[in-house]
Symmetry: C2
Subunit: 158 residues, 2 copies
DNA sequence: TATTGTTATACTCTATAACTATA
DNA sequence: TATAGTTATAGAGTATAACAATA
């Protein structure tokens, strides 16, 4: 039965996204906890493990995280021995981020867990619906960034 | 052009939702700021203004906010004169939340701003796609709440 | 001058344990 | 004993200003 409260919330799409996101984050964080990762640190590790020659500023852009907040995330992964920081010889202001073998092994195991989590939470959603979901979310993100000064990472439609 | 970083992120649907949500929250908060509201306080006001005889625990359930966190949100709205707390005569432990005239006026104006924000961010998304988006997000939320007591999956070492 | 990374800091949201007063 | 609300607190994410080193 749909009561008035539900009606109100259904018209407020931002709040529906918020609630879905909270559920995803909580589930993913408990999924990753045994591996020593959280949603954010997993996403950082995944970008570093998948991209050669990555700088912190590029990482920040790729994940839409502010640069100051990237610092402590990187520190965390470096202390754990999953990535290394090396001076970029062509620009001594910058650090090049590289995953270690241990970092890549962890990323591989974590990805299996993340895929399982993803399958669990998207159960009952068809591939077509899933594609609409992803496209719609990317449209929303792009619409929101239209009025901003910074240029987001471009992710083209398939 | 699709680089490897983009590919990785596209397979990680939780992160796409996260980024869309961050954009929505930032846009909505700046939309509501001139009215003295934030995303969360607007959602609280909207439920109170739309539901008669509401208790704090019901509000917490409706918005999936923990009860302790509801307290300060309510305090905020009460101090501003937008809602009142009244003892429930049938259960003296509980408070009944009621919006004031000022609260309802604010809610009406805020809703116009929120609808404008919503239309701006969902531009380019058809009604059909929007319905798929909402349904998919609600499915995800429901899937996540199924195994509330869930134990993380054990991941085999490679 | 501008950019990369950094420090410091502040605000918001979320989550849990433990308390009180009522039931 | 159970529930409604509360207090205190801790953790995480996000955002901005200001700085040093380098370009």
């Amino acid at each position: 039965m749909v009561n008035k409260t539900d009606e109100v919330l259904r018209q407020f799409s931002g709040y529906i996204i918020k609630r879905a996101f909270n559920v995803i984050q909580a589930d993913l964080n408990s999924t990753l906890k045994p591996l020593g990762l959280r949603m954010t640190s997993y996403s950082v590790l995944s970008v570093i493990a998948s991209t050669a020659g990555l700088r912190q500023s590029q990482l920040a852009d790729a994940l839409s995280i502010e640069r100051p907040n990237v610092v402590q995330l990187i520190d965390e992964l470096e202390v754990a021995g999953w990535i290394t920081r090396n001076r970029d010889p062509s620009d001594r202001r910058a650090w090049v981020l590289t995953s270690t073998q241990a970092g890549r092994d962890l990323f591989r195991r974590a990805t299996i867990a993340v895929q399982d989590h993803d399958a669990r939470l998207t159960a009952g959603i068809s591939d077509t619906q899933r594609q609409v979901l992803i496209d719609a979310l990317m449209t929303i993100e792009a619409n929101g960034q239209k009025g901003e000064t910074n240029v987001p990472v471009t992710i083209p439609k398939p």
